[in-house]
Amino acid sequence: MTKKYPGTYLKRDEMYSLPGLVRYKPTAKYSFSAGIAQTKFLEGLKKGKIIGVKCPSCGRVYVPPRAFCEYCHVPMNEYVELPGTGEIHTAVISYISTFRQRMDKPEIVGVVKLDAPGYTKESYEFAGLFHRFCGITEEDVISGKAIGMRVKPRWKPENERTGSVTDIECFEPVES
């Protein structure tokens, strides 16, 4: 313990011997059906492609694709392949893991505003993906230089791809 806080300290064993404290580990296992639209997306990733779908009514492009437009409530079947390039819309530096442990190496994550048909640089809405960033520094994020930076996916080697979002290792700067 590095710092002394006020109060009575309990040792681990003492804590778990408190009456009424039940340790219980749930066994909750699921195999989520990807469905029609998400399956197209995952199959695309395996081939190194980013697939979206366009709403026939409002023209929004959804990435990952969905079977229906949430705004128009109509089915969507017009699948489009995106170039995969885009710009960094937001980026944050994560120093602490889900388990509140300080990470050895901070991770940079955020949202990529993908190049997609029907959207311009000025569009308020956009087709985007949340992912990890690589090849950019903490300083790039802190200074704000990262925002707007052109990026592209760094794909895993084809034989290691499984049809998962992790087939993209990260988004990295487009070499200029």
Partner: protein, 382 residues
């Protein structure tokens, strides 16, 4: 206060497994069909959306965030009810009665085939400090206790309970939504082995994937959209107690059903003999006569007599579960009551897809989990 009607219903799935669709796509397909029947655009016409679901069934925490999209409820008033669909119908009913909402959509779905440890999820329903520590071999053991207690109280035999399975599984034969229907005989049920004594394997319903969506509207709006709405005449619901060792639970009874039925009958001005069709939850066979005894507000065991004489058969005056019930359709998690409401709705509209007599009034009853029952009773009229 306006009267409340159902102006559209949609369903999709109703198979033991629908692997080709995600749960969201399943709900969307049901919603599209419900809105098409009602002739409405959910993005313009519906004032509120209700989804009946439990996070553990979904495998997603805070799963209400997934509720709006497939229903057309994005950026509109949407909320979830952690209970059976009939409880959601009760919420919609009250919303419309206030006069603040004219059209409300209610949804529930089951993607139970995605759950790989269903039994363990049921175990999570047990009191963590008491029952989970005892680790009963099957968390549904209480259904066995309840069935045994009911048999003693009602003077019913195991054969009597098996009659429910024979009746309902045969009833489902011409119902396109009844995957577990079968032309079985009493011998088949008796010889199917124990699921949990006194319940036989063919007396425990299977599980089904599916989604159901209903559109409810005020009387004024309902008349604009349809010539033959189905009216919600009465609705009641009640929850029993039961924590720890269930020291206060009355085994072999279902007081919540009695209370819910009282409330629903009083509201509707109708009584049991007015009903042309009764759809009650029967995932374990003993539940059908037990339910019927309680909602009939009669003595326990009376329904067993009706079972033996065939007075609950589909061609009888007051058929019970002519759709095939859960024995034929299967259990759809929180959509189980919805599946039964769907049958009653289609029967009232003459669109059930199976032969049945004219239905003017119908009663639907559903429940959650032995023994801390929450029971809902709904009375519908054409």
């Amino acid at each position: 206060m306006p009267d409340v009607a159902i102006i559209g219903a949609g369903f999709y799935g109703f198979k033991p497994s629908v692997p080709e669709l995600s749960f969201r796509e399943l709900v969307f397909e049901a919603a599209r069909r419900a809105y098409a029947e009602a002739g409405i655009d959910p993005r313009k016409d519906i004032a509120g959306f209700i989804s009946c679901q439990e996070d553990f069934w979904e495998g997603i925490a805070i799963a209400d965030e997934f509720a709006p999209e497939p229903l057309g409820g994005v950026l509109r008033p949407t909320f979830t009810v952690a209970g059976d669909l009939l409880q959601g119908i009760a919420q919609a009913y009250m919303m419309i009665k206030t006069g603040l909402f004219d059209i409300v959509a209610v949804e529930s779905h089951s993607k139970q085939s995605d759950i790989k440890t269903l039994q363990e999820i049921y175990e999570l329903a047990l009191d963590p400090l008491y029952l989970r520590k005892l680790r009963p071999p099957n968390p549904l053991f209480m259904a066995g206790i309840d069935a045994q207690a009911y048999m003693m109280e009602a003077g019913a035999s195991e054969e009597d309970l098996a009659l429910v399975s024979v009746k309902n599984r045969n009833n489902g034969i011409d119902n396109p939504r009844a995957s577990y229907s079968s032309t079985i005989t009493l011998d088949d049920v008796i010889s199917s082995g124990y699921y949990m004594k006194p319940i036989k394997n063919l007396e425990a319903a299977g599980f089904t994937d599916g989604a159901v969506v209903f559109v409810l509207a005020s009387s004024e709006v309902a008349r604009k959209f349809t010539d033959d709405p189905v009216w919600v005449k009465g609705i009641g619901w009640s929850t029993e107690t039961g924590t720890g060792g269930w020291n206060h639970h009355v085994w072999g009874r279902m007081i919540s059903a009695r209370e819910a039925a009282k409330q629903a009958f009083k509201m509707s001005g109708l009584n049991l003999t007015d009903m042309d069709s009764i759809e009650i939850e029967d995932r374990f066979t003993y539940l059908e006569p037990l339910f019927l005894d309680e909602i009939g507000l009669s003595t326990i065991g009376y329904s067993v007599e009706l079972l033996r004489t065939g007075d609950l058969d589909k061609n009888a005056h007051m058929p019970v579960n002519m759709s095939g019930g859960s024995q034929s359709i299967g259990v759809l998690l929180e959509a189980t009551g919805g599946a039964r409401l769907l049958e009653a709705y289609l029967q009232l509209k003459g669109k059930a897809g199976y032969r049945h007599h004219e239905v003017e009034n119908a009663l639907v009853a559903s429940w959650r989990g032995p023994p801390t029952y929450t029971t809902s009773v709904l009375i519908l009229s054409r």
